[in-house]
């Protein structure tokens, strides 16, 4: 199998390449990149006016598989990923059962290989059953293919256990991913605490719930030398803490979601349950701080926290609606908005969706090096479209971006030399 992509603007931030190049894929590998390649190929893609980038990498996705397949599964979730331009996703372990064991990790990888439309890199649990009591078998989970450990949805409340997790994972070169919320401060809050929560009469979650946990975890990473990865950073204070920690040389990385750099708590008005997630949408000052963190390199990756839920779990009173929104099919255009808004240059936007996340979790993807696995995304930066959640490839449609006018999207997504998605107008 061979694919020749011609005349595209090739952006490969990992190799510091940005220019018009042809790219040849042979036998699932990047075979050649040159100004002009005239070799014959089974498929020739004319990428004139388009971007050619490494396949996008999303390090925070809920595939809901196994056990919650009514929301999503490996097949539908990776199909949504491919449609969004992603070739690799890291999936969170809060499934049924929790991914705290070799068989679940192996199952996910095998199912993705056999039936999926993207690579799946499982994130396994930090603690057995994500109960916050005993560590998982991190060495064996790494051997099975896990790329990090997280009790996502839950913080590791016990500080000593978090310390031990960072110590224990360190020799395995594996990150501990922190869902940073100080639970006693979250209480039964359902949205960001502030004027909007006061006005709507909804229980608030103060910013300090996130800042306090990020501060603790950063200090534990500093103490232990372990690798801390902060998931879905959303507050000004947390961005500042990570920025300062990086300056001190602490091994900390972090990610931000499109919704946290696009929407504010104002989106909750009207009791919109598709604007409910953890951490919650924050104040405009926090959104600015997240954007600044993306711009100055404090934030390593854009990750969606794609969290599908059945309509019955969202079509309820706000305070009992489940947390989370889908994101795989809107992440790329929302990231390109940052470019159009002048927040970050295009090359950096691509880096935040490719080598940034890949490096943060040590995933062997996210670049177009010769000989690398041919995961490639051809992006149409110009196409204007309206997002209709009903047409989503995800099983779930819980998104606040339904009806949004977006610009840019995946034209062709190539997974190991095979087309996994092709845009059809």
């Amino acid at each position: 199998m061979s694919i020749l992509i011609k005349n595209g603007r090739l952006i490969d931030p990992a190799n510091d390449i940005d220019g018009t190049f042809d790219l040849l894929i042979l036998d699932g590998k990047i075979a050649r990149i040159d100004k002009k390649i005239d070799d014959s190929a089974e498929e020739v893609i004319d990428a004139s006016g388009k971007l050619v980038t490494p396949g996008l990498v999303d390090i925070h996705v809920h595939l809901r598989d196994p056990g919650l397949e009514y929301k999503e599964d490996v097949i539908s979730g990776t199909a949504a990923a491919a449609a969004g331009g992603f070739t690799s996703v890291a999936c969170m372990p809060n499934t049924k059962p929790v991914n705290d064991s070799l068989p679940v990790t192996q199952y996910l990888i095998r199912k993705a290989k056999e039936e999926g439309s993207a690579n799946v890199f499982p994130v396994a649990a930090v603690t057995k059953g994500s109960k916050g009591e005993t560590l998982t078998e991190m060495g064996e989970l790494k051997e099975a293919g896990a790329v990090g450990f997280s009790d996502d949805g839950l913080p590791v409340i016990n500080s000593e256990l978090m310390r031990r997790a960072l110590e224990y994972s360190r020799p395995f070169n594996m990150p501990i991913i922190s869902h940073a919320e100080e639970k006693s401060l979250v209480g039964d809050g359902v949205m960001n605490e502030g004027f909007v929560s006061t006005e709507l009469g909804l229980k608030g979650i103060p910013w300090v719930a996130e800042d306090a946990m990020v501060a603790r975890d950063v200090m534990l990473a500093e103490l232990t030398g372990g690798h801390l990865h902060v998931a879905h950073i959303s507050t000004k204070g947390a961005v500042d803490i990570v920025r300062q920690a990086k300056a001190r040389g602490v091994h900390v990385t972090c990610e931000a979601t499109p919704h946290h750099f696009t929407l504010t708590e104002e989106a909750v008005r009207g009791y919109n349950t598709n604007a409910k997630m953890a951490p919650p949408l924050r104040h405009a000052d926090d959104v600015e701080a997240v954007r600044a963190g993306l711009a100055d390199g404090t934030i390593d990756a854009i990750a969606t926290d794609h969290a599908p839920h059945h309509v019955d779990e969202k079509n309820v009173e706000f305070n009992i609606a489940l947390n989370g929104i889908t994101g795989l099919e809107t992440a790329l255009p929302l990231t390109l908005r940052l470019v159009n808004d002048g927040v970050i240059p295009l090359q950096q936007a691509i880096a935040l969706l490719t080598c940034g996340p890949a490096t943060a979790l040590g995933i062997p993807r996210g670049d177009l090096s010769i000989g690398a696995v041919a995961d490639v995304t051809v992006i149409d930066q110009e196409r204007k479209w309206t997002f209709d959640p009903e047409t989503s490839r995800s099983k779930s449609h819980n998104t606040p971006f339904g009806g949004w006018e977006l610009q840019g999207g995946a034209e062709v997504t190539i997974l190991a030399g095979h087309v996994s998605y092709r845009f059809e107008s």
Binding site: E317, F318, N319
Partner: protein, 310 residues
């Protein structure tokens, strides 16, 4: 004059003119409540469902009497006797009721926004009888009605509202209403019970209730939920009473004829001393009485405001 609102979800969405129209309409209904035959045919043939997901005696009874005095058929459904306990969703519960063609659903729910949720999904009128910590519009309207009746105006008055501001739907509806009608609102309560930014709804916030009461024309005490004692928000009711309770001493700081109000049910000896609750300045039972007239006005106006053939 016709009334433009199909629903009464909160004071937030009512204009000053609509509020005055409701109060004026209530004025004309009040007299019915003192007749020997307390019934007019105005809403004959209309069906009103009181759908209460939270316990309530006063508000539910008031709406029920209001409906009956206008000759509507009123049915009460409380959560404990409904299918809610069987796990039915709010939407399904409401759709089942709507299938029986009520004209108005009067609804109380513990979740902020629950009436707004149903208003988006049902065809009948929804009157919010209290949603979570969000709004309680009929309470604010009966408060305003009582103030206007007793003091002759609302504009320019200083109204102190004291207590648990965080969890109070009464305070939010009153803030909207009093500001729209030109009153000045002062708020006071324990540091743990003042939600962020509430001053932006149009109020001055005090921590010392004496400052809030000083020179006030109206002192409105909020109910403190007794179960909050001994948890994180409040050490003891004893201390609450000492620092945030209304008593004859701090009431002296208010205007001589200041009204003492309480939305009920009162905790005597906690947020209000019995001597004040029963004292000459209290209008607490007037509030209850006026509640019926105000709710008659709401039912009448959302029904289209036209008299049925009779």
């Amino acid at each position: 004059m016709s009334f433009a609102q199909k629903h009464i979800l909160g004071i937030d969405h009512l204009s000053r003119e609509e509020i005055i129209q409701i109060l004026d309409t209530a004025d004309s209904f009040k007299e019915i409540n003192t007749r020997a035959i307390k019934k007019v045919p105005t809403l004959r043939g209309k069906t009103i469902v009181n759908l209460f997901f939270e316990a309530s005696t006063r508000t539910r009874t008031s709406f029920e009497i209001a409906g009956k005095r206008l000759s509507a058929d009123t049915i009460n459904i409380s959560a404990s006797s409904s299918s809610v306990v069987k796990g039915e969703t709010l939407e399904d519960t409401a759709r089942n009721i709507e299938a029986m063609h009520p004209d108005i659903i009067v609804m109380r729910h513990g979740a902020s926004g629950a009436p707004h949720y149903l208003a988006d999904r049902l065809d009948c009128s929804i009157i919010n009888a209290g949603d979570g910590a969000h709004e309680h519009p009929s309470q604010a309207l009966l408060d305003a009605f009582t103030i206007r009746e007793k003091l002759g105006r609302i504009e320019g008055l200083n109204v102190a509202i004291i207590g648990d501001l965080t969890h109070s739907r009464v305070v939010r509806s009153n803030l909207y209403l009093l500001n729209k009608l030109g009153a000045k609102v002062r708020l006071a309560g324990p540091g743990t019970m003042i939600p962020p930014g509430i001053e932006k709804l149009g109020a001055t916030v005090y921590h010392d209730i004496n400052q809030a009461i000083e020179g006030a024309d109206v002192v409105m005490m909020l109910r403190i939920q007794l179960e909050r004692q001994g948890k994180t928000l409040l050490p003891t009711l004893r201390e609450y009473s000492r620092f945030y309770g209304l008593n004859p001493n701090n009431l002296k700081l208010a205007q001589e004829n200041a009204l003492v109000m309480h939305p009920g049910p009162m905790n005597r000896g906690v947020e209000i001393s019995s001597s004040v609750a029963d004292g000459p300045q209290n209008v607490i039972l007037d509030q209850v009485e006026n509640g019926v007239a105000v709710r008659m006005a709401l039912l009448y106006l959302v029904s289209g405001g036209e008299e049925t053939e009779g």
